[in-house]
Symmetry: D4
Subunit: 148 residues, 8 copies
């Protein structure tokens, strides 16, 4: 069984690249999906393509909707969603994606450091695994794709 | 049409009471649903009922799951979800509820101050309305329940 | 069996009132749902409640989304949707509602004059009945709610 | 992620060809789906295949249903729906397709000139992007299919 | 638990009346739904309400669609569907209703005489019970609604 | 768009072979699915594999359920269902399949001679096309798979 | 919010009565649903109503299907499912109900003694709470129905 | 039609290997899915990857959830589920998988010896076939994949 895995959350570190590279090195039967990771492009895509806005709200709104086309499709196609919470920023989009996955009945894995245990308890509660680092995620993907 | 409205998010202020009281005063055809708002009870319900845990993770886990029985049922029964982000704490559960509502195709209204516009852009993007205060939410509920 | 019937489409004539009054006079077991019919209120609700916009696009956008909370809920609760196309205006929202109802597997009845037969053929094709006037709709509602 | 994109709406201009050609030139990972574009064939397919009708209504009806087999399948298979409103005709089928896509939770992009902003506000309100021309649609498809 | 029971199939005998009367006499917590049973009204409703047709096909078509509004709603609301095959006529609508119920995951009970065992094997295969008479159906309804 | 087409109904004539051969000759982008057509094998598969039964009812029952594994999967995978009613037998399984397809929102095409117009009106009412012969079905498949 | 709670599993002890009585004493806003608890009636209902069978397999089969009408309806209507595993018998039907509830996205609570921890780990894994006795279930129901 | 078949249940015998080998030898168009079959790895995967636990409950819980990622995905992708009950152990996970498959409307085949007929009656009741050995399952797979 080949798995589609969507990588949601933290975009300021290289965790996706690390995970993807290692999975490829191990020849895991996994295809990875991800949001657009170029932060500037992602923030500005609405006004860049559809025209300038005076208010920041609508600038953000148009960008977030275009990004949502990709994100919604990715979560819906995914067999497993990995949601990583980093140490900085509010990261409400990561929690939003987790809720979205949960409502669709998708299995998701949360990754965060111990300090967020209490704040993320609702997100962790419906997860299939709560990891602290990428190595653990990799091992889970390796395990659940062991040959029949 | 009588509406079921679930009030998600911030639990450290009296916004739900304010909204419910005013809606009742105006005789709006709205029933409100809410999570358990007693913070201590909510945090400890897992170990209180199902037995002590040594680690905080499992203590939180058991509590969050029991609360999830109520929250999941409430969102699924709701016609409209209101998600309020306050000024404090991570509030990832609020974003999780918004994502959950979005995936179910539920209309939701977000309430937050302007300073969170950028951080909440993904949550706002799929909302039916983005308000800054409870009065606006009340007016929306009043408007959408005008008699046929 | 009591039916919920959503009345979509034309808002510049009194067809809903006529239908509702006659159904009540006949004591039909039907509850009617409708969008907000005050045209000015409906057009301005976004800026009235959520604050002014410089562009007409966002003014309309905010209004249409608030109205959509009511419309989406109404169609989803409805057992039957009646979609009336009048003689004026583009009425794309009526066709949108018909498509929305079709995708949900809801039975809908279209009402329009003969001159629109060709232009509305895709809307008519998935309807359960194509009527030319309100009397016919009333007779259909009367017929399908005959006592068991 | 390869995307399936259904191109709904205006059939009297060459916008689909323009979009498809340019997407192919850029090697975008997109497959396009479209209705039958031969206007005469589309109007007459019912009576051509299934036998003559005396009334225009049934002639149109039989044709619209056969076309609906293709259109329904296309929207249901699509990851993204593009709905273009041209300057002529009622184009109720385009709005119908948008409503159909919305009810299925499909992301859709609307294309229309500024003059239709008010008339299309309900269709725009649930869209993920509102474009004015095909170049913008192309840029959105290019952006949302950027390699992971 | 109060059950909604839709009574599909044979319309040339008084089996529905017999079942409903006996269920009422026993005060079973069951509400019955049924199609329109006036055969002439049912056959002619299309042309009676929506205007004459030259061909029998369209006369039947318009009638069958109006009846389908009631039948579809009834099956979708039903907790249990009873499908009775009598000794006369093709009764393809009864088998159609059974297939419709099966695809929705509804429990259905088939009633037919032994001689149809082979011809109805596909319909029986997905039923929750295959009865030979109305008394058996009544006993099943009585049994499954025994007080908790 | 390549279509999956399930061929339901009459099994005593060679209509499937005729349709499949002609579609292949025309290189239509269509894959055909069908039930097991060996009548004896189909009737006896239950007792052949799972052991003898004393009563015909259970013999038929076991066979019909094994066949249903294939039929249910085929209809669920199909983009279009063709349901042919021949001149002989009760063919309740064909009507059952049509109802099953209808409830899943699948487009289906009915094929029958004119004499069955009245008896099949409920089945025809929810069909996307009502044909009288296989040539018409072939032309519909050809038309709806015209290249984009 | 009033909750519908289905009580699945062990039928050889009085746990349901105990739970229902105590919930009524506390005036909890909960309606309870349950299978038929008369063991003999439940085992024999198939042959009692639908006629004798020579083999135990078909006797059990007919009974289990009639009971399934009630059980399926109950789980589908339930907001919460309680599944109790007692100390005796295989109780595969309890595990089946839990899997059924899980696939529908229903919140369920498992009740079993500690000795079954390992054997029930897959059932527990998707539960919202794992209790050891009825008092704990009662406290959970009391907690999740605290007034808004 | 190529089928995906998930093999659930008994893990202490070589029945999966036997079935897969024979299916491959016969070139059946079937892909098999299975849980992780290394019993020790399966029991310990939670603590091996995500860290030690003091209690057996949480050790089992973490393992069962990781395994559930694979099992849930497999059942959801499967066209047919085979559930084998062996002679040892409680095997509640097998019954759970059967219930899960039933609620999703998946066809499933149960395999067990005659002695479990009464205890498994609820599981058998919603199955498409009840076999006693692997040869019968193989014959069913062979039969339902006969070429069109």
């Amino acid at each position: 069984m080949k798995l589609q895995v969507y990588l949601s959350g933290e975009i300021h570190s290289g965790w996706r690249e690390e995970l993807i590279n290692e999975a490829e090195r191990q020849l895991l039967p996994v295809d990875f999906l991800a949001p657009v990771l170029n932060h500037d492009a992602s923030d500005n895509v609405g006004v860049e393509i559809l025209g300038a806005e005076e208010s920041n709200f609508w600038k953000d709104h148009k960008a977030a909707k275009i990004n949502a086309i990709r994100i919604k499709n990715s979560i819906e196609k995914a067999d497993v969603v990995v949601v990583k919470f980093g140490d900085k920023y509010k990261q409400w989009n990561a929690a939003f994606d987790a809720g979205y996955a949960a409502a669709l009945g998708k299995s998701y894995i949360v990754v965060h450091s111990k300090e967020f245990t209490h704040a993320l308890k609702e997100v962790d509660a419906q997860a299939m695994a709560v990891a602290e680092n990428i190595e653990q995620v990799l091992k889970i993907l390796e395990y659940i794709t062991l040959p029949e």
